[in-house]
């Protein structure tokens, strides 16, 4: 029965009760008035009121319980979120936010944000992680009180380590006297963010709607300020479900969101950096989590060309076009060893870039640079460091430490270098020629290595990437996954030129990132249109969240997922093997607890079960091209597609 019908029939329960209440109140008033004589002149002796009359005038009218309402606190929370231009809210259902969910999908008309159904909170957060890196802006996530946040914790940690913004909400059932016994207590919490506070930038539990508005807008600003990070707001259950009358609503104000400019390096320090770089004979530019836009990529190319300096990319983002002759990552170790000045831009692990620790019983380490090498470090690292989790890595000194956002700083560094070079624009040309010569050798070396095991079954990683390239080379392709365990062939031979074509890895090395980030990244690509998103997902990684294929099918998010199926958590196979060797016990048992065989998993069938297209398993390299072609066609038709490829361990 729709509302109109209900009203016409006079069965709207709240309206009915309200009518009764008004009628009763009126009746009392009328009754009291009727029993009161007209006003008499002063000094006229009037009869004293009866006890009933006194009670009617001074006591509260009998309480009538309201069972429905037209506007709630959760509606206002939706109003707040709508001011932030958030496109999506990913969520696995949970009763602690039932009012909010209903408000988003009905009051908010399920637009801006649109509610997305995920089958695990790790997927909700992980897809927001991948989405933000492609879309360049955050999406929102709603998590069930206590248990939902616990489910999501690893994905939040990944996003935090990767410095990616996510606007996260959780909920709690409200004050003790309002909670239903049992489940609402299990899902209530004094401090909803405590579980994850070590790896979110900021959190709050607002105790009023006005506070919710201010905290949510504040949180968005903090999440998107460099270094970016997830933030978490707890939406109290009572605030969500409370009736919001017009008077109370009129007092609420939603602050205007203002995104601040990012921190830029001190001009004096940049001048000093420019001097050091121009004076160097063998400068090297190390980049890691540097570029977050095409402008950042273009600026890096400009700086590298000014200096004719090689760029060594650690690939936490797409920083430097792989087809540029100054992209010199394949000989990064040699360049670092020879460098007299290193410019490091947003390193995740500067110590790891400049030192090597040997994984033997004796953990010896050594510098990979010369003792005299000067280090310039431009980074936001020091602006977000916490104590407990060790994602800050080992301390590494720099000769010139510039605490600033490297991408925002780059135009000013370029200006400083240009001033320092002055008229000597061709002074670095010989160095550039050496780089061109070296770059030409990279492809030949990769081809020689790629030929190894070309026809082998399981299929070699080089063969898989070659077959894939052959099918997508005319498409606007983009990788959604880091592909570190399948040979990095995309960085060795594919022309990665656009910022969105590669988005780096998990951040915290939490297994399960690949399928969930792929889902979110594919969503952002879908909204742009015309792109072919590709994810190379390890079988171990995929098994953490295979149901992403359902969410992709349900919300019509097309992407090509190639399962790099080596039937193992192969990194762990190698770790156990290393320990077995170290202990002189043989490696036969290294497969216990590390391999995923007996039975082998049918990933194509799994994908089909979730409503996606499933192809494979493919173990014959000669069949792979046709399988990928079929998969690409299905993606272009709007489907999520999984191809199970039986591959070499690495």
């Amino acid at each position: 029965m729709d509302k109109k019908t209900s009203d016409q029939a006079g069965l709207h329960r709240r309206g009915f009760l309200k009518g009764v209440a008004i009628a009763s109140g009126s009746g009392l008033a009328v009754s009291a008035q009727a029993q009161t004589p007209p006003a008499a002149p002063a000094q006229t002796k009037a009869p004293l009121p009866t006890a009933a009359q006194t009670a009617a005038e001074h006591e509260a009218p009998a309480h009538v319980e309201a069972l429905t309402t037209e506007k709630t606190g959760s509606d206002f929370m939706v109003d707040v979120c709508k001011t932030l231009n958030i496109d999506y809210m990913a969520s696995c259902p949970g009763s602690t936010f039932r009012a909010l969910q209903e408000s988003f999908i009905n009051y908010g008309q399920n637009k801006k944000p649109e509610w997305l159904t995920c089958l695990h909170e790790e997927v909700s957060v992980g897809m927001a992680h991948g989405y933000a890196k492609v879309a360049g802006k955050p999406m929102a996530v709603m998590m069930h009180g206590t248990v939902g946040v616990q489910h999501a914790a690893m994905a939040i940690y990944n996003a935090y380590c990767d410095r990616v913004p996510i606007i996260m909400f959780t909920a709690s059932a409200g004050p003790v006297e309002d909670r239903r016994p049992g489940v609402e207590w299990f899902h209530s919490v004094q401090d909803g963010a405590a579980t994850v506070r070590d790896f979110v930038k900021w959190d709050d539990y607002p105790w009023s709607l006005q506070s919710f508005a201010e905290s949510t807008v504040r949180g968005y600003g903090l999440a998107t300020a460099q270094p970016q990070s997830p933030i978490l707001i707890t939406a109290d259950g009572k605030l969500q479900e409370m009736e919001l009358d017009k008077h109370e609503e009129s007092k609420l104000k939603i602050p205007k969101l203002t995104i601040g400019t990012q921190t830029v390096g001190d001009p004096a320090a940049l001048k000093e950096a420019a001097k050091m770089l121009v004076a160097a004979e063998n400068p090297v530019i190390l980049v890691d989590r540097y570029a977050r836009s095409q402008a950042g990529v273009d600026a890096l190319v400009k700086l590298a060309e000014l200096l004719q300096a090689p760029v060594v990319d650690s690939r936490s983002r797409m920083n430097m076009p792989t087809q540029h002759y100054l992209y010199q990552s394949p000989r990064g170790a040699a360049l670092i060893a020879q460098a007299d000045c290193i410019l490091s831009l947003e390193p995740v692990d500067l110590f790891g870039q400049l030192n090597r620790v040997r994984d033997q019983i004796e953990r010896t380490w050594r510098h990979t640079t010369k003792a005299t090498t000067k280090i310039i470090n431009i980074t936001t690292h020091d602006l977000l460091v916490k104590a407990n989790y060790q994602d800050f890595q080992r301390y590494s000194s720099a000769d010139l430490q510039i605490t600033a956002d490297a991408e925002a700083t780059m135009p000013y560094l370029i200006e400083a270098v240009q001033r320092e070079i002055g008229e000597r624009k061709s002074m670095f040309d010989p160095r550039g020629q050496k780089m061109r010569d070296a770059w030409k050798g990279f492809a030949a070396r990769s081809h020689a290595e790629g030929a190894l095991g070309w026809d082998s079954s399981p299929i070699s990683s080089a063969r898989m990437y070659a077959e894939l390239w052959n099918q997508v080379k005319t498409e606007d392709w983009a990788f959604l996954t880091p592909n570190n365990y399948s040979g990095n062939w995309q960085h060795r031979l594919w022309p990665i030129e656009k910022h969105y074509q590669y988005i780096g890895g998990s951040g915290g090395s939490g297994v399960g990132y690949e399928p969930v980030a792929a889902l979110g990244g594919a969503l952002a690509h879908r909204d742009v249109g015309g792109r072919l998103p590709i994810a190379i997902i390890g079988d171990g990684n995929f098994n953490m969240a295979p149901h992403v294929m359902w969410t992709a099918a349900h919300h019509k998010i097309p992407f090509l997922a190639i399962i790099q199926n080596n039937r193992a958590y192969h990194q762990e196979v190698m770790h156990i093997q290393r320990m077995a060797n170290r202990h002189n016990r043989g490696v036969e048992n290294a497969v216990i607890g590390t391999t995923i065989t007996d039975p082998n998993i049918d990933y194509a069938a799994l994908a089909k079960g979730y409503g996606a297209v499933g192809i494979g398993p493919i173990s014959d390299p000669k069949e792979l091209g046709a399988a990928i072609k079929k998969g690409v066609e299905a993606v272009k038709a709007g489907n999520p597609v999984l191809i199970d490829v039986i591959m070499q361990p690495r």
């Binding site: 081809h447 790629g450 030929a451 095991g453 070659a466 390239w469 060797n581 361990p649 690495r650």
Partner: protein, 123 residues
């Protein structure tokens, strides 16, 4: 010794190809047993099922021209990240079998004959 180690590392990191000429002093190994041992000892986990090698984990071993002594030395006292295999786990005779198996594998195809491979990417 220092020179030898350096040369060995270079040989391995270059895919065990050209640093040494193959020596005739290698003991005669059992190819079939070597194939079994290559799998049983987990060599393929880093070096690929055909000893084809893989970026980041292990260099090519198939059709290696690394001398047997150097092969043995790398196995017993790895100069890099490779875990050690002592004689208690892989006896000398087993090393010889694995070496023979690696030698028996066909050479990889020439990349120039693989247009699908050389066509990858933009030139």
């Amino acid at each position: 010794m220092k020179f030898f180690t350096a040369a060995l590392v270079a040989g391995l990191s270059l895919g065990a190809g050209t640093a040494f000429a193959q020596q005739d002093t290698a003991p005669k190994g059992n190819i079939e047993n070597g194939k079994k041992l290559f799998t049983a000892n987990g060599c393929y986990q880093c070096h690929g099922t055909l000893g084809n090698g893989a970026p980041l984990t292990g260099p090519r071993l198939s059709n290696t021209q690394l001398p047997f002594d150097a092969f043995m030395m790398q196995l017993r006292s790895p100069a890099n990240e490779m875990p050690p295999y002592e004689a208690k786990i892989v006896p000398d005779s087993a090393v010889a079998d694995i070496y023979a198996y690696m030698q028996s594998l066909p050479a990889s195809p020439n990349a120039k004959d693989l247009p699908l491979l050389t066509g990858m990417g933009v030139k």
